[in-house]
Subunit: 394 residues, 2 copies
Amino acid sequence: MDTTSAPPTQPTPLTGASRAVALEVLLRGPVSRSEIARRLSLSAGSLTRLANPLVDSGLLVEVDAEHGPPGQEARAGRRTRPLDINPTAHHFIGAKVTGDDVHAVLTTLRAEVVASVRKPLSGRDPASVVATVRDVTGELTAGGPPISRVGVSLGGRVAHHTTVTAAPFLEWSEDVPLGSLLADALGLPVTVDNDLLALTRAEHWFGTARGHDRFAVLTIGAGVGYGLVMHDTIVDTPDVGVGLLGHCPLDPMGPLCPSGHRGCATAMLSRPSICAAVSVGLRRSVTYDECLDLAASGDPVAAPVITAAGRALGRLLAAVANFTLVQKIVLTGEGVRLAEVARTTVDEAVRADRDPSTAPLELDVQHSDFAYWARGAAATAIQAYVLEEEPAAG
Amino acid sequence: MDTTSAPPTQPTPLTGASRAVALEVLLRGPVSRSEIARRLSLSAGSLTRLANPLVDSGLLVEVDAEHGPPGQEARAGRRTRPLDINPTAHHFIGAKVTGDDVHAVLTTLRAEVVASVRKPLSGRDPASVVATVRDVTGELTAGGPPISRVGVSLGGRVAHHTTVTAAPFLEWSEDVPLGSLLADALGLPVTVDNDLLALTRAEHWFGTARGHDRFAVLTIGAGVGYGLVMHDTIVDTPDVGVGLLGHCPLDPMGPLCPSGHRGCATAMLSRPSICAAVSVGLRRSVTYDECLDLAASGDPVAAPVITAAGRALGRLLAAVANFTLVQKIVLTGEGVRLAEVARTTVDEAVRADRDPSTAPLELDVQHSDFAYWARGAAATAIQAYVLEEEPAAG
DNA sequence: CACCTAGGTTCCATAGTGGAAATAATGGCG
DNA sequence: CGCCATTATTTCCACTATGGAACCTAGGTG
């Protein structure tokens, strides 16, 4: 694969072992050579042989010892010279497609957002989506560094990272080979993925869950979304992306969801449900943030709704932890402020449903905007790029 | 194959790659050399080099082509000569320790039970447990083949496969290094494990879940137990074994459990709970099997109790599948007959709580006796033996 | 019976590995 | 300040497991 002008790519196309070294550095942040050798069960000699070409090629850089892990400052011996990824060695595009528009970001190899752009869809048909993604990609790449791969995420099912087999928001009734359509339109390799999987991947490699080999992601917003990483591998089944937890019963006294489930996750936690519940009580239409503000100030209608939602959220979090045995959950989505306003209630509910002898559940509340979701798509592209099969030896 | 006298152990102590070959054969049953090569990404040449010494050593044997997978009988080319494990190449002891006795089995490398024995505990203190395990091991090994490793399982928490850190049934108040105590007493390597993890391991490598890389095990009996395998690796955390699912709420109208949870898994599904519910209604004490028989014959008291239990079980199974994304659940334990008597109700409840677009959940009901649990302990020993670090090169 | 296909074996050049020994960089100590 | 212990990293080399090519084996087919 030739990347036209200035090649920041390694001349050596990354053999299995050197790829493993690069991945280790990417995922574990700055690490010394000796530490990498230990983690990968390689000898120090092999490590030198593998790592130094990567430094020469510009993919890795030596950084100053950042005083390492605290607690063992004054030890004898030569100091470590940690290696880190040079994040600008490669750049990626991530694009999140919604029913109305495309949000896209340009990121580094570390999924740091360099630039961001948004453009409304001219239509929901595949051709319009392809055109819009082409446009935003064009805007982001103009005059910038070459792009190694493009990631696209959307709500729905995606097969083999290329074919969209279900996309309710776009009203696509049949399979669309979006990956190949976009690859042709952009002249770049493209990876398509479910939006929640993409977000989960981003948290796994680059987010607060970096370094954790087991965790769950829970999103609340228009609905309830769910992603799971076990043993350092994301759980990817065809059933992911159908909102498996959306109708999990949480409160036998709760309101109904549009499908008729009483007190299910959607009925208790989604923004529309909460707005509806408060609006009905107040006899006027209120926004989600207004609901939370009113609850925080003790409004007699909003407060109990939010408290019930917090309790339901705690119950859901506890169930996730109990069933999957994760010790960390990343909570995000447009409705995440609920967890902050009702944090005490949430924590109490989690404790109530957890065995007291279990390790405490680590809960990470992560604010999200559209760039955050688009960054998830970029993370998918980064993973695909880093893990892709070696080119069949030319 | 004659075992008795001649040492069945390999002279070659299994290098990394040949260990992988042996493991592949152990786990995937009879497999042709070419198939192994494909699975392990090895060349055919390497495969010959690796596999044939294993055949020579007696660990693997060539078997007749069992007409392979149906559907492709008449194909051209040389027929495959599949390899299989010689299960008698090694033997193992599995012992399950309860609060009252020790059940032990002698098994092959495939966890097939060769002999079985039971002995009551003379006391619950560590010394008595060690003595009883020593006795049953002695009985099982007398005059038989040499034992490669001993596995011991019990209800409770076990650290590093050696130290029992909690064992409510044995009323041990402090950590007991049971593994090393037994290793000294037996003169054999010993692996200790939580009983549910052990059972899960057995299902994973040798049971109905063989070949599945993601599944859950659910046991109903005195309580509700739970084990999980994801990405071909068992989920092993300190929290396993504390009955995480025992108090999962399943029926807001259900009875109370001893801890005061209304309609939790224990209250709805445990044998004592079901017996209690039916006994109260009938004004007489009934056994578990009697409850099920009465329900099957339409008894007006037992039938609704069992139906409610079946519904709760279905809800629990659906939750397991929804949260962990497994597509297969092995259901076992002394109370498992519930699932057979109330199968229709269970299936209906599963469907009700699953998104209709998901893949159907595969449910495997497995009858269990004490040998079954002891076999789990043996499976732990087999795993430890097969996966153990190579002896530090003599 | 010649030919086709696919499984399995033999053999060899070589890439990649661990290990020993060397070198580098640091703190402690007399 | 010089020496030593300690740890990180590099250099170098013997060795071994690997892939690949060529070959043999064991059926089918026309």
